[in-house]
Assembly symmetry: C2
Homo-oligomer: 345 residues x 2
């Protein structure tokens, strides 16, 4: 077992313990993060490789998780090419001029490595720090549909009314938009792997806002093309979205190595829906808000549903909530490492 346990689990291989990391493990729940970042836009912190690398490493040091994930945001490449994105604290990404028409396609030019030099420098710093450990770095990007929803809606939404209007009223324009996003996403992911990211997560965070028919028509193919565009890199890929119970089988067709299962779906049921491939998940983050004892109890429920079959990466079924006590996550890491049985030999 020379490969890191996280990578082995992604490939469904035997492991000596169940690997664990947490979506949004780097972030506001950590006092050392708040101390380092202070106020100011997250895009500024991401834009400073020393800060971004340090923030990436904080949860690795504190929790002993089995993977680092790049501190970044799915809008970063679009900010980098000047689409006009800001991330407003407490609100999320806001677009000055949302995508509306053919003319906006020109604002989505191809991404060059220079555009995201701050990101590749961060990767360099993190990879150097992780050298000689068993902790790989996960790179990531937003899946085309989810990025499109930000660019078209212009601000966080609950009903996705604007993007649904666009996709149904002008599916040809929407396809052209997806084409641009596929190209940018593939480039962005390739840059990260070229510098040493050893796995990739694709966040299709809002895929659950689509019906099955809509997912198949307006999201699946673009995600497939992104994954096809990085397959030769031979790094494990993880595809994750929230509230995706109805479309998990369709998402699985996109061809990721691992499927992320959100917390609404029982892990054993989710695994069946994705054709029995390795799964990542899926503790409800809300159950980490009431102390170590209850958090550990909740983690054990997930381990029980995971069973002994190989190919389980323990994670939350959504991002760490900002009000989470890090001590709870520390306790969960210990329990997963000690008691997890999936693929453990």
């Amino acid at each position: 077992m020379t490969d890191p346990v996280f990578l082995r689990a992604c490939r469904g291989e035997d492991v000596d313990h169940v690997p664990v990391w947490f979506m949004r493990q780097a972030g506001r729940s950590l006092p050392e993060y708040r101390a380092l970042r202070g106020e100011g836009s997250i895009l500024d912190a991401i834009g400073d490789p020393a800060v971004a690398a340090e923030v990436t490493m904080q949860p690795v040091r504190r929790y002993g998780v089995d993977a680092a994930i790049l501190f970044s945001d799915i809008v970063v490449p679009y900010h980098a090419i000047g689409f006009g994105v800001d991330v407003v604290p407490g609100r999320g990404p806001v677009i000055a001029q949302p995508f509306k028409s053919d003319a906006d396609l020109e604002r989505l030019r191809d991404l060059t490595e220079l555009d995201v030099a701050h990101v590749t420098q961060t990767v360099d710093l993190v990879v150097k720090e992780l050298e000689g450990t068993n902790t790989p770095l996960i790179g990531f990007a937003g899946a085309p549909f989810t990025v499109a929803s930000y660019l078209v809606e212009g601000a966080p939404t609950r009903d996705f009314g604007i993007i649904k209007s666009l996709m149904h009223a002008d599916p040809v324009l929407f396809d052209h938009l997806l084409d641009r996003l596929v190209a940018i996403t593939v480039s962005f992911l390739r840059f990260q792997v070229a510098r040493g990211a050893r796995a990739l997560q694709l966040f299709d965070s809002w895929a659950g806002s689509l019906t099955r028919d809509e997912y198949e028509r307006f999201a699946l193919r673009a995600t497939q093309r992104v994954l096809d565009g990085i397959r030769d890199l031979n790094v494990p890929t993880i595809l994750f979205g929230v509230g995706t119970g109805e479309i998990l089988d369709l998402m699985a067709r996109a061809g990721s190595t691992v499927m992320g299962i959100d917390w609404h779906v029982d892990l054993n049921v989710g695994r069946q829906r994705v054709g029995d491939r390795p799964v990542q998940g899926n503790l409800d983050p809300a159950r980490c808000l009431s102390g170590e004892k209850l958090g550990v109890e909740a983690a054990r429920e997930v381990l029980a549903k995971a069973g002994t079959q190989s190919g389980h990466i323990f994670n939350l079924g959504h991002g760490v909530l900002p009000q989470t006590d890090p001590a709870v996550l520390e306790a969960i890491v210990r329990v997963v490492h000690e008691e997890g049985r999936a693929g453990v030999v």
Copy 2:
């Protein structure tokens, strides 16, 4: 066919057209509603029977829907017994002193008819106006879990962290809370039927925030007891929640006459999950935001999934969005009446 078509469809009987109504049909999307209500708390409008009755009737007149639904709010009985609830415009229900401990149980005394005299008077006015028509009035209440989530969280939430802490940390207290809510809900529904409501919808709006295990342990039994408590009234009942795909089969066990299916779940799939009972739904409200042509196209997709089997009440799969153009809903009513085939003889 002497009974109104809506009631016949609820019972899975043959109909001469597919009935349709819209969740939140009375409300901000209607100019006549905005003109009547102006600013001010929704609880004031609900507290004035003349206003509430008029608002209830507005969509019946404009759309020709097959049912009226009482203009009210699920917090109304709790406001009435002085629990300290306000509904903040654009935000939702806010509780001055959220439910936290045994001592708060005393603040949830039984409901008397006098407490909700404004509601029963509204029912009287609406029933009188609907006399001689084929349009019955639907009464409603919040299901115990969803009401509990408001009372415990104290304000709208996305992660349900506070209520999840309470239910897992102190399940006995949570059961006592549910006991109180069951009693109040049964009384509230019975008062509405006594005055002439001919069907009842139970909104378990946030049931989808629970895992299957949580729903079974912390919500199902209370909803069952509410439905058992009104069964002798012999009016059709509809149970609805949002994002409930994973728990539809469990919700069906609560024993409602009809199951509401939210828009994430294909209607034919949802019907199978609820044991083939009559279903209500489930057009995505976001698809009513882009003009008549696209709205009608979306409605036809739902009708196609409903097929010809009896027992379909057409509705949205969530409430009408405030920015909806009423002309789109008018067009959808026409199309459902003309083209719906479920149970039509």
